[in-house]
């Protein structure tokens, strides 16, 4: 187990290093950042000086080495736009993003798993077919368009919910959250529903596939034969065994949710790090983009590790090599 953990940690480090190389290379293709930091009417000498300060006069390997050193020390430079450390900007907005991601996951889990269990246990019934067609529509919908339609219906036509922003927040343990105020919830609900749809559809389909597989097994027949209640058979014997792939996909979906939060946040003007990324792409604010990508890469490799560990923990058939 220890050897496995060490191996995985080394792998994580390699992945993060590879990401840093890719991010560095891509960033150096995207124009000259010098013009982001100096006034338009600068003289050539001033441009040269700015170039030296930013280290742009050095060779590519040297620049990368500098970049890597700063990265390891957690120094990502200052945003060209906000003139603040890029790391702080991202971390400030991380809680807002996690808020809609977590609520979206909860919505997906509480809607998708019961529906998936039903559709998997009763494959032929009309309601199951309806559920499955619905999930296929869910996969086929452009998420941003759904968000727009929700805004149009709930905010423009019916005026029930606000269309953008984060609403009232309260500070808990130094973190601003909108999940503890009524106004906050009215702002959270539309972005979260929008974000959850894709995940909901995927989890539903995986749950159903797993249930269909499990319900054929002999132990389900035995459970029925010994007189276990229907609910007990479905959830205690069925779902429990169908849950393994669901947990894996769920973990991997967190990554997708963070990625799709960029679009959802843009539509709902939700002040999270995804919107900051999109804004920074428009403004070519390189340091912020780099921090976002490295942070998200870190989150992803950690999620992948956790998923693998949970996988081995909940399925005794799999042993760690």
């Amino acid at each position: 187990m220890l050897a496995y953990a060490i191996k995985r940690l080394v792998q994580m480090a390699i992945v993060l290093w590879a990401v840093s190389v890719i991010v560095f290379l891509m960033m150096s293709f995207t124009g000259d950042p010098v013009f982001m930091v100096i006034p338009i009417d600068s003289t050539d000498a001033e441009i040269e000086q700015a170039r030296r300060i930013l280290g742009l006069d050095r060779s590519m390997p040297e620049q990368y080495w500098l970049f890597l050193q700063n990265l390891v020390q957690g120094d990502f430079g200052r945003s060209y736009v906000f003139r603040q450390p890029a790391m702080d900007l991202i971390l400030e907005r991380l809680p807002a993003t996690l808020e809609i991601v977590i609520v979206a996951m909860l919505i997906a889990a509480f809607v998708a798993i019961p529906l998936g269990v039903y559709a998997g246990a009763n494959p032929g019934k009309p309601l199951s077919r309806l559920i499955m067609s619905g999930s296929l529509v869910g996969i086929s919908l452009p998420g941003f368009w759904v968000g727009m339609m929700l805004i149009f219906l709930f905010a423009v036509e019916w005026r029930l919910l606000p269309s953008s922003g984060r609403g009232d927040t309260v500070e808990v343990l130094g973190i601003e959250t909108s999940l503890l105020t009524w106004d906050g919830w009215t702002h959270v609900i539309l972005p979260s529903v929008t974000l959850s749809l894709g995940t909901l559809a995927i989890i539903l389909r995986i749950t159903r596939a797993g249930m269909m597989e499990v319900m054929r097994q002999d132990y389900i027949k035995f459970a029925r034969a010994k007189g276990a209640s229907r609910k007990d058979v479905l959830y205690g014997h069925g779902l429990r065994n169908a849950l393994i792939p669901v947990v894996t996909i769920f973990g991997l979906q967190i990554g997708d949710l963070i990625a799709f939060a960029t679009i959802t946040e843009t539509i709902f003007a939700w002040p999270g790090m995804g919107k900051l990324l999109v804004d920074s792409i428009y403004r070519a604010d390189r340091p912020v983009i780099v921090v976002y990508l490295m942070l998200v890469a870190l989150i992803f490799v950690v999620i992948n590790l956790v998923v693998d560990l949970v996988y081995t923990a909940i399925d005794p058939r799999i042993t760690v090599k």
Binding site: M26, P142, G143, F144, I151, F152, V296
Partner: protein, 291 residues
């Protein structure tokens, strides 16, 4: 012989499967739009001489104030929404198909090489694939586009870079299985060159699982392209895809002008839904194990 048998069984199942027929019908309509859209389109939405600013923001024809000339209404430049959709569907669908073909070609080639030769090449390709798969496609595409800038060619490159991995992995897996088999050994003993063994003998035997992946990927690519264009880092304004039409409609949605964004969205949904319906059917047919 085998092929014909499969085809007839396949056709028989297709005829009895309502959602497969529905999916095929939607795909057929989309193909017709791609081929003949500009011919049947009421106007050329990008020919400025055909636009009339006085006709801007007309609602759909069946709503009060609507104009029978503009069935689905008009946008801010007096552009017919239906015509925009016909042209936009073309852009979206062609990007999805072209990117899928590129990703499939590159991914299959790399997968064949990795599986056939193994060793360092294999290790390298698979490591790259592993790293890439730990990130969501959407994020990689967004990142690439932010580096490349807008343009249809750039969207195609970004989608290809995002999409090759699934093919490489699948093909590598099946290639490893195939090269163990006697027919490949026989071809080797017969003294065929590697290139010929790969092309003539291995390739045809690893293609089947790719059909499902490729079908569904066209839908995925259409959605990713739409999202990129919605964020303003996709296709240029001169060749709007459905995603860009929705983006343009988003700005006026708050004024209650819903038709400029609702209809293009419905079109994307219908197109991708049709592809997914058909993809589901293909999956059941080609991988009976999963049924």
């Amino acid at each position: 012989m085998m092929g014909q048998l499969l085809a007839s069984q396949f056709f028989y199942n297709w005829r009895r499967n309502l959602s497969a027929i529905a999916g095929s019908a939607i795909i057929l309509v989309c193909v017709l739009i791609v081929l003949f859209g500009p011919l049947v389109s009421p106007q050329n939405p990008y020919d400025l001489t055909q636009l009339n600013l006085l006709d801007s923001y007309k609602p759909p024809a069946w709503i009060e104030g609507g104009d029978p000339r503009y069935l689905l209404g008009t946008d801010g430049q007096g552009r017919d929404v239906l015509s925009s959709i016909l042209y936009g569907t073309r852009v979206s669908a062609l990007i999805g198909i072209a990117a899928m073909l590129m990703a499939c070609t590159i991914g299959t080639t790399l997968g064949l090489l990795a599986g056939f030769y193994g060793g360092r090449l294999d290790a390298f390709i698979m490591r790259v694939a592993d790293i890439q798969l730990s990130f969501p496609s959407m994020l990689i595409a967004l990142f690439l586009m932010s580096a490349f800038g807008t343009g249809i060619d750039k969207v195609l490159i970004a989608l290809t870079l995002v999409g090759w991995v699934v093919y490489a992995r699948t093909v590598r897996g099946s290639t490893l299985g195939e090269i163990q088999k006697e027919y490949v050994q026989a071809a080797r003993v017969a003294g065929l060159r590697d290139a010929k063994i790969i092309r003539r003998h291995v390739l045809p035997n690893v293609l089947t699982p790719l059909i499902v992946i490729a079908t569904v990927q066209v839908g995925t690519f259409i959605l990713i392209e739409a999202s990129l264009s919605f964020l303003g880092v996709g296709v240029p304004i001169t060749q709007p895809s459905l995603g860009l039409l929705i983006k343009n409609g988003f700005d006026v949605l708050f004024s209650g002008l819903w038709w400029t964004s609702v209809f293009p969205g419905l079109m994307i949904m219908a197109m991708v839904f049709g592809i997914n319906l058909f993809g589901d059917f293909l999956r059941d047919e080609l991988n009976p194990r999963l049924k």
